[in-house]
Symmetry: C2
Subunit: 344 residues, 2 copies
DNA sequence: CTGAAAGCGCTTACAG
DNA sequence: CTGAAAGCGCTTACAG
């Protein structure tokens, strides 16, 4: 007993209406060139008359392809979701998919349901491939994906798995450019508020900070490096920790943390950028609206999403066997008032 | 030719291993009581040995149930997505689903792909039911859903369709409470920045504003009502429009707009709450972090999500035929510094 | 260019 | 309590 009572037309109905076999209707739907033009006409008109839509589930079972992509986001701390990053990523992926007539299935990987999620993703037969926004260096799902040979693309590079295609922002260069900018403006006690160091983006942005200092011939002062968690509240606390060490600039590894730092500085009675220059990362909408407007390293999260879909679909296409591809997008420094200097 | 080369065990494999028929294995998997306890044992152990996972696509085709729910979000203006509302809603729904062993398929309804999306949602056979975050009063997808008899639940009440189950925050009461609070504190020129009036929540919150004024014996001054778009930038512009009319308080229909208003007031050299009191709606994380902390009408978006899933699943369950249900959750006013008075 | 037939991996009356 | 068989709605070699 199905819930949906009135019957949708199926292949047989169309075949009957067009006076052909099911095979032929199937060929027409799938754009098989081996169909007589006139026949094709008749079939299409039957399809339109009946308002026929192929059942994707049946098609999926028969062909092994469902035209559905999975998207796995490691929810981790619930607070992570307060960052617009994920909303935009979802948006970018969803848009790219619907343009290509794919649908997307979403899993927010809660730690406690981890195993069940992995099972659903891998063994359900529901999806053709999966995009994983993998942040953690040791995410167990990745190994499972590889073992199962599930076609997949990671958003965010993953040093341990060069065999998987990835898309990523060049976090290291972005961070390096930001810190170099601060040093060029004459700041000498440049601090950083990092993301969690078990997240690759967090580690990369921190590495960029260190490199920029080294480039300029400085050595990093450990007291000026505070690890935080990519949240506003975390940025606030980190800044409070930094204040006693009198930084004259701060590079925060995310805008949310930079906004938190701004708030802490304000509460501490320090002026931005006069006393302390601040630069964030991501260039979320709130950055331009901050007071003062926040200088930030802009990455296009939308582009990451689009690109991930593209890579996954080429993999699924399979017409040409391709090795893994690693796309790295250069971020750009968007200079606003918070870092001082003279933003043109 | 399927992409996944190594074969997963299927029902037949399990049946063979356990020395029973496919039917029996199927019964065991589906918890059919009509199975001998010993047989059940043997089957389960075969399942575990082979690490068998039922193919959901096949199951979906055979049973007409895929254990997948759809979630449709009318993207409308892309900026809408800058509001944490949707991220949290997605989160709430996703969490509830995975707890119940359902998966969720996501569609961001872009206007230009509208028809295609509707088709996918309705006719793909991929989902058992759908949750629609319907904001627009005249969203065409709703009529299509009804006509197709697709089980569905709306997040956000919809006056034109009482036959569809809904979950909603009591927007009117929330707004009314906020404005009443401002009036009690002695404010006399209370303005409002509304959401789009073709969105039901926008209209409801505006109605709440008007009612509160009426309750207190005031009549609304049209110059103190400005329609905006639920974004920060929109709130900023709306506040600028209001300034010449010298409001002494503003109720913004969303926190994002309230934050924009705060920014406009600051730029205009006005003090909050001394010169102008401000109250927002939603109580997003940023509200408590604003300067001054923002008084806001708190709704639990997570709860809306959970509740929507629950309602949809009872509908799908179908063991008892139920009429539509309309769950309305009362929001609560969270008083902080931005509205003046003396927040305990 | 077209059709008959097998098959994708399940579920579900129907018999027993 | 169990199995043989039909069926869900497609795709896809295989013949012709």
């Amino acid at each position: 007993m199905t819930l949906q009572t009135h019957n949708r037309p199926n292949l047989v109905a169309v075949a009957k209406a067009a006076g052909v076999s099911r095979s032929t209707v199937s060929r027409v739907i799938n754009d098989d060139p081996n169909v007589n033009a006139a026949t094709r006409e008749r079939v299409w008109s039957a399809i339109h008359t009946l308002d026929y839509q192929p059942n994707r589930v049946a098609r999926g079972l028969a062909s092994g392809r469902t035209q559905v992509l999975g998207l796995v986001i490691p929810q981790g701390v619930a607070t992570l979701f307060s960052d617009p990053y994920f909303a935009i990523l979802i948006q970018g992926i969803s848009t790219a998919c619907s343009r290509l007539d794919y649908s997307v299935m979403l899993w927010l990987a809660e730690p406690d349901h981890e195993r069940r999620t992995i099972h659903q993703v891998l063994h359900g037969g529901l999806i053709d491939g999966v995009i994983v926004s993998s942040m953690l260096a040791d995410d167990p799902i990745i190994a499972a994906l590889v073992e199962r040979r599930m076609p997949c693309v990671l958003v965010g590079r993953h040093p341990d798995h060069p065999e998987i295609s990835t898309v990523d922002t060049d976090n290291l260069s972005g961070a390096r450019a930001a810190v170099t900018h601060l040093l060029r403006l004459g700041r000498r006690r440049v601090a950083t508020i990092t993301g969690p160091q078990n997240m690759i983006a967090g580690a990369d942005r921190c590495a960029g900070y260190s490199l920029a200092l080294r480039d300029a011939g400085f050595s990093a002062d450990p007291a000026l490096i505070v690890e935080s968690d990519f949240t506003e509240a975390g940025g606030y606390r980190a800044m409070q920790q930094l204040l006693p060490h009198h930084p004259d600039a701060v590079f925060a590894a995310s805008d949310l943390m930079a906004l938190g730092a701004l708030r802490a500085l304000q509460h501490g009675g320090l002026r931005v950028p006069e006393d302390v220059a601040v630069i964030g990362f991501d260039d979320i909408a709130a950055a331009a609206l901050a007071d003062p407007p926040l200088t930030s390293v802009r990455q296009s999260i939308q582009q990451l999403g689009h690109s991930a879909v593209e890579l996954l679909l080429t993999q699924l296409d399979g017409s040409r066997i391709t090795g893994p591809e690693h796309r790295v997008f250069p971020p750009t420094l968007v200079v606003r008032r918070s870092c001082g200097g003279d933003p043109a």
